[in-house]
């Protein structure tokens, strides 16, 4: 049965038509437009950087298998079949490498009035970043 898959990734959500929620797959075009990766003979590529991938496992009748894609990039993929939704997380390798470089990861978040602020707006100042919660 084909349905619309909602994929939560990189802080946003995209919808892909015709995906089997048990084995989520997307078209090569969607992979490129939504996720920024291109399937090349060398593997999965993002600009000059390529990651090897088992192409026989990746390419199926329904499109590119998202589970194989996620494994190749060491990103977690978790699904809820009932609601045709999947979440593709960030790779611990990428997160760890970014932190170990000691460059503070930049982010943009809204204030109470919805105005966006970025960490990088404060370049030139020393910053105390405080994550807190009301709970």
């Amino acid at each position: 049965m084909s349905a619309t898959l909602t994929l939560l990734h990189d802080g946003r959500s995209d919808e892909f038509a015709g995906a089997d929620p048990a084995r989520p797959a997307i078209s090569p075009e969607d992979l490129e437009v939504a996720l920024g990766w291109e399937l090349q003979p060398e593997g999965l590529c993002q600009g000059p950087m390529c990651v090897p991938v088992d192409q026989d496992a990746l390419v199926g009748d329904g499109g590119l298998d998202l589970g194989v894609f996620a494994d190749a990039l060491q990103r977690p993929l978790v699904t809820d079949e009932k609601h045709d939704v999947a979440a593709l997380g960030a790779s611990h390798h990428d997160r760890g490498e970014a932190l170990a470089s000691l460059q503070a990861p930049d982010f943009t978040l809204p204030d109470l009035d919805g105005n966006p602020h970025s960490l990088s707006d404060q370049r030139g100042k020393k910053v105390l970043l405080v994550a807190y919660a009301s709970w």
Binding site: G89, L112, A133
Partner: protein, 200 residues
């Protein structure tokens, strides 16, 4: 603190790890801060910085580099009895760094004190993302198994476990959290990751 050092090329950025701006509004409006006070309903900052509890503070220098990595610190000693964290020490150190009286950590010390995210923590974060989306779509019952799975994967991640309690109809100040705190004490897994506690 902010008022005292704002003229010395320093700012605070607070990030509320909340379900909605409304959860943080009373806190922010009461403090009416002059520095950016942001709301992070998707747990982006915990994901980017590998934070597993709040409050967590990070020092970032003028070039945007991490001068002191994730450390548990409160703004006051209100919770000292509960957490064992002394805020005064942190504030004294911070003041000295901002004023240029004392250096922060060296890059190799920063690296030594960093706890980098693991594959299983990232999987827990993905489960949380999925659960939170289902909650917001009105599928609370189906969200529950993903919250549970996230908690099983990363039982020490309090931003996920305690941070999802209100959404799940649990009291973050009540028995559900007490159970986590007791388990943490029994397994000697600290709820708050302090730099002083890290192995040398």
């Amino acid at each position: 603190m902010y008022e005292e050092l704002a003229d010395e090329g320093f700012t605070v950025i607070t990030v509320g790890i909340e379900r909605s701006p409304e959860d943080a509004r009373p806190w922010i409006e009461k403090a009416s801060p002059q520095h950016p006070s942001l709301i992070d309903i998707e747990h982006l900052v915990p994901d980017l910085y590998g934070m597993i509890n709040v409050p967590t503070v990070v020092w970032i220098d003028e070039e945007g580099r991490i001068a002191r990595p994730n450390d548990a610190s409160f703004a006051s000693n209100r919770f000292k009895l509960l957490t064992g964290l002394d805020s005064k020490r942190h504030l004294r150190r911070l003041r000295a760094w901002v004023r240029g009286d004392a250096p922060a950590l060296t890059p190799s010390e920063v690296r030594k004190h960093q706890e980098l995210p693991t594959a299983v923590e990232q999987e827990a974060r993905a489960e949380f993302t999925l659960a939170w989306w289902l909650s917001r779509e009105g599928h609370d019952e189906d969200a529950e198994r993903h919250y549970e799975r996230a908690g099983e994967l990363a039982p020490h991640d309090i931003t996920i476990r305690r941070g999802s309690m209100r959404t799940r109809g649990l009291n973050p100040m009540g028995f559900a959290f007490l159970k986590i705190a007791i388990k943490s004490a029994l397994t000697r897994t600290p709820l708050y990751r302090r730099i002083e506690d890290s192995p040398a």
